[in-house]
Assembly symmetry: C2
Homo-oligomer: 267 residues x 2
C-alpha cells in the first residue's frame, strides 16, 4: 500500500491520529520536502515517530518514485507531505502512476494553507482563484497572476497568493554539467511579494489596485509563532514578518462587517 | 482558554495528535453539530476520547455560547467542529466574542471539504469561488449561486458546490409557539442538487451549462466509504451516491490533461 499523508502546517503533532498510526507501521517513510516546508526539522519528526525518514527531493519525487511504488506492491510505504497531500500536482501524478503499477493507495488529508488561511477572519467562500507569485529574475518577470487577482477583486473576492519557494534548485550554470550544484533555499517574503506587486501596479495604472490597497500578510500559519498583519501594500513592502513560510492575501474591496471586525485586530 | 478544534472529515481518528491531547485535558468538551456532521456517532468520539461530550446545536452556538466563554476565562473549554473550525461564520464570530470577554483562544486546524475535494483529481488552484446550494421550498427558489458557477465556468475554473444540510431546524408552524418543534434532519444529495441545477439551466438557456455538462459527485470525502462519480448533470440527477454528506463539483470546461486522466477513473 502507498500512503500519502498530510502533516498539516505546524509541528510534529499536527499529523492526525490515523496518520501517525500508519507512519508507525509502515516499512518505509519518505518526507517530501520541496513543495512546502515544515516549521520543525525532520529530526523532530523522526524522534516523534520513532522511525527513520528518507528525504524525498524533487528529483526523487519526479524521476525515481517508481522504485518506491514498486516496493509498495508488497510493502507499506508512506510519503509525508506538509499541509494536505493533494495541494501539489506532483502527488496527483504519483497516485495515477501507482494505479498503473497496480499499487493500492490511501490519502490522509490534513489542513493546508488553502483552508487555514481563514485564521485571518476572511471567509473561505469569499475567496476566488488562488494564485502563485514566482520569484522574478533579471530576465524573467511574469505577471499573468496579476490579471487573476484583478479578476477576483472586481468580483469582490479575496485572493490567496502562495509565495514562491526554492528548495534544492539546481543553479543555472550546473544544468548542463554532470554534477548538479544547488542554490541556497529561499522563501519569498510578504515584503518581496508586495514589492513585485507594486512594480506591476506602477506599470498598469488604473487596473483596480493601488499602493494603498489593503493586504493581509501571514507567516507560519498553524504554528505557535504564527503572525498576521493587515496594512497597505506600500507598507507591507517594508514589513518584516519573520521566518518562512509567508502568504499574502489581497482582500476583496467590500468586506463583510464580521471580516472587517476580525481583521481590525491585526492592523 | 477556549479551543476551536477541527475534527477533519472521516472518523474519530482524523483529529490531530495535538487536538486529541487538548481534548483529553479540557474541563468541558462541546461538539458543534449543525454546520456539518460526522460520519460516526458522537458516542464513538466519547469512547475514543474517554470524555463526555456536550452537543452544541445552533441555539447554543448562536445564543448561549457566552456562558461557556465566561467559563473559559478560568477553565479549558474545547468546541469540536467537523472539518476545519473556521469553515463557518459562526465560529469566527465566537472568536471575536471571546476576545471581547478577555478569553484566550487557540485554533487547531484540520482538513475540510474546501481542500479535501482535491481527492477527485481537480487541482485546488483551478477552483473559483465556492458556492452553497440551498434546499428549495414551494415558495422560495433562490438561484443567485448559479451566476457564480457561470462566473467560474467562463473563466475556466471549477466550482465546489456545498450542499444544504438541515439539522435541528424549527418547523415553520412552531416558530411562533413557545415550544419549538424540529424537522427531521436532511442532507441534500447530488441527485437533488443536480435536479435544482437542471431546473435553472432550463430557465436560462444559453447560459453556458447544459444538461450534458460534466459534474463530479462526491460523498463522505475522507471516510473509508468515500465515493466519487463523474457523469453529466442529466445522469447525476438519477445517481444515488449513498449516505451523506454529499458535494458536487462543476469542473471547468477545459481540463488539464492530468485532471482528465484522474477523473477518468470515476466515469
Amino acid at each position: 500500500m502507498f500512503y500519502l499523508i498530510g502533516l498539516g502546517l505546524g509541528n510534529a503533532k499536527d499529523i492526525t491520529v490515523k496518520g501517525l498510526e500508519i507512519v508507525k507501521k509502515c516499512d518505509k517513510v519518505l518526507l517530501e520536502g520541496y513543495t512546502s516546508i515544515l516549521t520543525v526539522g525532520h529530526n523532530v519528526l523522526e524522534e516523534f515517530y520513532g522511525r527513520p525518514i528518507i528525504i524525498a527531493d524533487r528529483e526523487l519525487c519526479e524521476s525515481h518514485i517508481d522504485s518506491f511504488l514498486m516496493e509498495a506492491q508488497d510493502n507499506d510505504i508512506a510519503l509525508l507531505v506538509v499541509g494536505d497531500p493533494l495541494g501539489a500536482t506532483t502527488h496527483t501524478d504519483m497516485l495515477l502512476r501507482a494505479k498503473q503499477l497496480g499499487v493500492r493507495t490511501e490519502i490522509i488529508h490534513n489542513a493546508s494553507i488553502m483552508n487555514a488561511v481563514s485564521c485571518c477572519g476572511l471567509q473561505l467562500y469569499n475567496f476566488g482563484e488562488t494564485i502563485s507569485i514566482p520569484y522574478w529574475t533579471e530576465t524573467w518577470k511574469p505577471d499573468s497572476f496579476y490579471e487573476k487577482i484583478i479578476g477576483n477583486y472586481t468580483r469582490n473576492l479575496h485572493t490567496l497568493c502562495l509565495l514562491d519557494i526554492k528548495v534544492k534548485e539546481p543553479t543555472e550554470e550546473s544544468l548542463t554539467k554532470k554534477v548538479r550544484q544547488y542554490m541556497k533555499p529561499k522563501f519569498m517574503t510578504v515584503c518581496e511579494a508586495s514589492t513585485q506587486l507594486l512594480h506591476i501596479i506602477k506599470e498598469k495604472l488604473n487596473s483596480g489596485l493601488t499602493e494603498d490597497t489593503l493586504a493581509v500578510g501571514l507567516s507560519r500559519v498553524g504554528a505557535p509563532d504564527q503572525r498576521i498583519t493587515v496594512r497597505s501594500l506600500k507598507e507591507m513592502q517594508n514589513h518584516e514578518l519573520g521566518p518562512p513560510l509567508h502568504s499574502l492575501v489581497i482582500p476583496s474591496p467590500n468586506l463583510h462587517p464580521l471580516e472587517l471586525d476580525y481583521l481590525a485586530q491585526f492592523r
